[in-house]
């Protein structure tokens, strides 16, 4: 109960004029709607429930997002959930069931209903269709669903899109969609609608992944062999998601083949991968293990020089999953991810970092209408730095560790109302750093205080088919955060001076925050193939990433809400027009959004984030705003398919202590962002593809003058982010040659050329004295990736 002890603070918070403006109204609306729904249906007429699973006939993998439709005395339709489960309510009578999923043959079946029944379906893959790119959703789901701001990627799509060094990458393919921007050349980090990279909630089988990149951002931690489904929410997040401001990237791993053992893999220029899957008990349970490792450092080993061959530089990752169906009502899943980057410079230096996540899930059907999923999740990110120089040797250990309990329910109240509700409790432990050294070293052993926090949430939402045309999803999420002892907690004034230090014991609550997050979205179908949608979402973020470099680094520091740091808040309003053409062959959408952000974080200049126990003294707090329009046109089937994505946007920040308090462009501000993706299936064996991207350069700070300090050149910066890097553009091409069909060992070759016309896009632009003429200064552009060919051999048996 101590959790709510500081209700006074919440009261004050609710009195904030901004809060008052938005919250009471939206919350009232949501609460009234929910109440009406629950009341109205307490004595609704008796109905029959039809439910079950939809799976792939060949592999037994559950299919996410398959459409199940009943036509008869009444009509009902639904989509399978993340576990391939659906549930529909209808009255007695005879019905025709149709089950469809793009890329699979549709099932039509007659069924007589006089009681609740369970109907499981297995769908056969349809290879006759010329659908190289297959959308995972039902044909016009994009139009009829009230969900907006959602982009889905089919993993098969990724296989044909050209990528850097031939390494398929979910996160990089994602960056080709409107509203999602790359954080830099070859970087797997991304910005969504004006958010920074740490404002994305990245979930792998529900486990939050803290540093989703390898090798300083060049590769993502997601091995596409192991991935089944990728959804990214840019706005209108459903109430079951929370904790980050800008987006939710929900990645689900393959369950494994329930029918037979298979293996597949690939050998590429810099890495190789292998996946093995098969049944544990046929049709009851299966497993999947997928691993990859890079071998850039194998080249070092070729050298006979010990100063070269003793260096290491590689990463590996392993995805593993097992599931077992106990009976019709109970299924268990266990999944894990383990990845690590290691680099070492001979006898001087070692550095390694990585994530580990474990998710244990239990799917249970309490009744025909109530589906439950319980998840226990462990997640750990840590890094170790070692310096072996004798007089300065040291080792730094830092980690962030989560224990996470999630309980989600889906309740089919009626055919018009699908309720989702649940709770989530996460216990965070952040160990900012432990410094150890041996007796010879000049470095003192130090341990920085761990920080513990409890993040909790309860939510409820309802998807309501108001009429044939109008669909609503509305819900509320109540999220709390408590900073907990033990430790010494400081409070700082505006200038960063300590005003108070208080000591707390283990289990004491230091500071509590409570926030309500209303979520609302609606779609109004204009006709069969077009709709208008609108959404309002509030998101809260309680855990923040501190990074003062312009690129992400494995050593970036996570901090929690505290006496000084308040939860970040974002309110987003979005509207959109969705339309399919030509029998759903083409998909078009236009979305506009406006987002207001509060309690954004920046640093004073000269902030040192390393081992800084007083880092909060150096933080500055301000506001943000972002708006834009996103256009998307996709050709979904046919020999030639692909998409065009265009975004016009603005992203700004305002801090009293920066830029004289004036609004400035955030570094992720890019006016224009264009991506073209084309895939052409030339025949049964050859597929060609191409990607073109263009975007306005990032907002950056360049000098507007210079001066001398101690005889050396220093630069004068007139304003923050007042300049632009040169525009970025690039063309990639790829070709895939499939092996002759019918063999036991199927193999394919992928050839790619990254940056075909060798555009010199800047990775960085530096200003410095000319080394040959110290009386002049010069501007030096560093380009990381010119034209780069790649080749990969893939196999499957």
């Amino acid at each position: 109960m101590r959790y709510f002890a500081k209700s006074q603070q919440m009261y004050i918070y609710l009195q904030h004029p901004y809060t008052q403006f938005f919250m009471p109204y939206t919350i009232r609306v949501v609460l009234i709607l929910l109440f009406l729904v629950l009341f109205q249906h307490s004595n609704a007429q008796t109905k029959r429930t039809v439910n079950g699973n939809v799976t792939d006939a060949k592999t037994g993998e559950t299919l996410i997002g398959a459409s199940v439709k009943l036509t008869g005395p009444v009509s009902a339709g639904g989509i399978t959930n993340a576990y391939g489960f659906y549930s529909l309510n209808v009255t007695d009578g005879s019905y025709e069931v149709s089950v469809s999923f793009i890329g699979y043959r549709t099932i039509l079946q007659k069924v007589e209903l006089s009681k609740d029944i369970r109907l499981n379906f297995t769908l056969e893959e349809d290879n006759q269709l010329d659908e190289v790119v297959i959308s995972a959703t039902k044909k016009n789901e994009n139009v009829s669903s009230p969900q907006m701001g959602l982009q889905k990627i089919n993993v098969r799509e990724i296989n044909n899109v050209p990528v850097l060094l031939g390494e398929r990458d979910v996160l990089k393919t994602l960056q080709l969609l409107p509203g999602i921007k790359s954080a830099g050349e070859g970087n797997s980090g991304f910005y969504v609608r004006g958010g920074s990279t740490d404002q994305n909630l990245i979930l792998l089988d529900e486990a939050p992944v803290y540093n989703a990149s390898h090798l300083l951002g060049f590769f993502s931690t997601f091995n596409s062999d192991a991935i089944k489904d990728v959804s990214v929410y840019k706005g209108g997040m459903p109430a079951q998601y929370g904790g980050r401001l800008a987006s939710v990237l929900d990645i689900k791993m393959n369950d494994g083949n329930r029918k037979e053992f298979t293996a597949e893999g690939g050998i590429g220029l810099i890495s190789s991968r292998l996946k093995v899957e098969g049944p544990i008990v046929k049709d009851k349970g299966s497993f999947m293990v997928s691993a990859r490792r890079t071998y850039m450092d194998a080249f070092f080993k070729l050298s006979s020089d010990s100063s070269i061959n003793s260096n290491t530089l590689y990463f590996y990752d392993v995805n593993a999953k097992a599931n077992y169906q106990l009976d019709d009502k109970n299924t268990l899943y266990l999944s894990g991810y383990f990845g690590r980057d290691k680099l070492g410079l001979a006898e001087t230096f070692g550095f390694n970092w990585g994530n580990a996540t474990v998710t244990l899930r239990w799917n249970h059907l309490y009744s025909n209408k109530l589906f439950s999923n319980t998840s226990l999740i462990y997640s750990n990110y840590n890094y170790v730095i070692q310096n072996f120089m004798e007089e300065n040797n040291f080792e730094v250990n830092s980690s962030i560790k989560d224990f996470n309990l999630k309980q989600d329910f889906e309740y089919g109240l009626s055919n018009d109302h699908q309720l989702k509700f649940g709770l989530n409790i996460i216990h965070h432990t952040i160990a900012p750093g432990k410094l150890t050294a041996d007796a010879r070293s000049s470095v003192n052993e130090t341990t920085y205080e761990n920080r513990k926090g409890l993040e909790s949430a309860i939510y409820i939402s309802d998807e309501w088919a108001v009429s044939e045309r109008l669909n609503l999803v509305y819900g509320l999420r109540l999220s709390g955060f408590s900073l907990m002892g033990p430790g010494n907690f400081k409070t700082y004034d505006k200038d960063g001076n300590i005003t108070q230090t208080r000591s707390y014991g283990s289990g004491d609550f230091v500071k509590n925050y409570l926030n309500l997050e209303p979520r609302f979205s609606a779609s109004y179908q204009l006709d069969k193939s077009s709709s208008l949608k609108g959404a309002y979402t509030r998101n809260i973020q309680n855990i923040h990433l501190m990074s003062n470099s312009t690129s992400t680094s494995p050593t970036d520091l996570y901090i929690m809400n505290s006496n000084n740091v308040k939860p970040e808040i974002a309110d987003q309003v979005a509207m959109g027009y969705f339309r399919n053409f030509n029998e759903d062959k083409y998909e078009f959408s236009a979305e506009i959004y406006y987002k207001k952000m509060q309690h954004q974080i920046e640093y004073r200049s000269g902030t040192d984030l390393r081992g800084n126990g007083n880092v909060e003294a150096d933080l500055l707090y301000g506001d943000g705003r972002a708006y834009g329009i996103e256009l998307f046109l996709k050709k979904r089937f046919g020999k030639f398919n692909g998409w065009i994505g265009y975004t016009y946007s603005r992203t700004e920040r305002q801090f009293d202590a920066i830029n004289e308090g004036k609004w400035f462009y955030a570094k992720q501000d890019r006016t224009h962002d264009l991506s073209l993706v084309g895939i052409y299936k030339a025949g049964p064996r050859w597929t060609f593809s191409s990607v073109f991207v263009y975007n306005t350069g990032n907002a950056v700070t360049y000098p507007s003058g210079k001066y001398q300090v101690n005889g050396r050149t220093a630069f004068y910066y007139k304003e923050k982010n007042g300049y632009r890097t040169p525009a970025y553009h690039r063309l990639d091409v790829a070709a895939t040659l499939e092996g002759k069909p019918g063999k036991k060992l199927q193999s394919s070759w992928s050839f790619g050329i990254y940056n075909l016309y060798n555009r010199q896009n800047p990775f960085s632009i530096d200003f410095k004295d000319d080394p040959d003429d110290k009386t002049r200064t010069q501007v030096v552009r560093t380009t990381l990736f010119g034209i780069i060919p790649s080749v990969t051999w893939n196999f499957k048996f």
């Binding site: 850097l164 060094l165 070859g186 090798l215 300083l216 100063s307 070269i308 530089l313 680099l343 410079l345 001979a346 300065n392 040291f394 000049s442 470095v443 003192n444 130090t446 470099s549 312009t550 690129s551 200049s605 000269g606 040192d608 390393r610 081992g611 570094k667 950056v700 360049y702 000098p703 507007s704 003058g705 210079k706 001066y707 001398q708 300090v709 101690n710 005889g711 050396r712 220093a714 630069f715 004068y716 923050k720 007042g722 940056n755 010199q760 990775f763 530096d766 200003f767 110290k774 009386t775 002049r776 501007v779 030096v780 552009r781 560093t782 380009t783 990381l784 990736f785 010119g786 780069i788």
Partner: protein, 266 residues
């Protein structure tokens, strides 16, 4: 704790293996800004003429120069006005104390510069002196190449926070100007590598290292300046370093203790 160096090295290696990385000098159009006053001054614990330089910013495209401002009024107050010294202009923009004197550790120095009707003030407290014991050499083997650096050796006093500045000069030219603090090695014998590559120097060349003890604000100024110039690290969003001057002047006023040693390349 030179993590940045290593990260740069890693980026370089990754880039190397990706076969593409290249550097090129380019033309970039930069804005012209209204010139701003820059004050760069110091008081040391040595018996010498102390100097304050007053200049203003100029266009990026111009040759590097000291863009001195004449006619400024420069006044030094010691320990809250117990003593007041008016500096005289000895060259355009260069102001000097009229007599030699020694600054005292623990004393507070307040510099007031008046120029064009505006007054700029800064305070710096001279820290206790720490002696530079010796300079030694250190060689790293980096991918088969040997790189040599100078190491500053000293004993850090325990229990207080100290900040140090290293100015490395070769043939009278400042080649490296870096700072460190004792956050990780308080009270220990410290061997701090100065990251200036000596490999271009020949036998007999001498390297002069001035070792300063500086106050916290001065440390932060130079740390921030180092972040801007990258000092070999990953790019940090640059900003004007936090000055101790009021009223919008750029630059720093530094009361420091000074010790100098010379190393000869063998």
């Amino acid at each position: 704790m030179n993590l940045k160096k290593y990260i740069t090295a890693v980026v370089a290696i990754v880039a190397l293996f990706c076969l593409g990385a290249c550097e090129k000098v380019i033309d970039l159009k930069l804005d012209e800004a209204v010139p701003l006053i820059v004050i760069d001054g110091g008081i040391s614990d040595q018996n010498e003429y102390h100097r304050v330089k007053v200049s203003q910013t100029y266009s990026f495209t111009e040759p590097n120069k000291f863009n001195g401002l004449t006619g400024a009024k420069v006044v030094l107050k010691i320990d809250g006005g117990a003593q007041e010294i008016v500096f005289r202009e000895v060259a355009a923009g260069v102001y000097e104390s009229p007599a030699k004197f020694k600054g005292k550790p623990g004393s507070s120095y307040e510099l007031t510069v008046t120029y064009d009707g505006k007054t700029y003030q800064a305070v710096s407290v001279m820290p206790a002196r720490v002696a530079l014991d010796s300079l030694t050499f250190k060689t790293f083997n980096f991918f088969g190449n040997n790189k040599s650096y100078i190491v500053a050796n000293f004993l850090d006093p325990a229990g207080i926070s100290n900040q140090y500045r290293y100015i490395l000069k070769v043939k009278g030219v400042v080649e490296e100007d870096a700072v460190s603090e004792d956050r990780f090695n308080d009270g220990n014998k410290v061997a701090n590598v100065i990251f200036y590559e000596l490999d271009d120097l020949v036998k007999g060349d001498s390297v002069l290292v001035e070792f300063q003890c500086i106050d916290r604000n001065v440390y932060r100024y130079f740390y921030s300046l180092g972040q801007n110039s990258g000092q070999g690290g990953p790019p940090v969003a640059p900003a004007n370093p936090p000055t101790n001057f009021s009223n919008g002047a750029l630059g720093i006023f530094n009361a420091y203790t000074s010790g100098k040693r010379t190393a000869v390349i063998k």
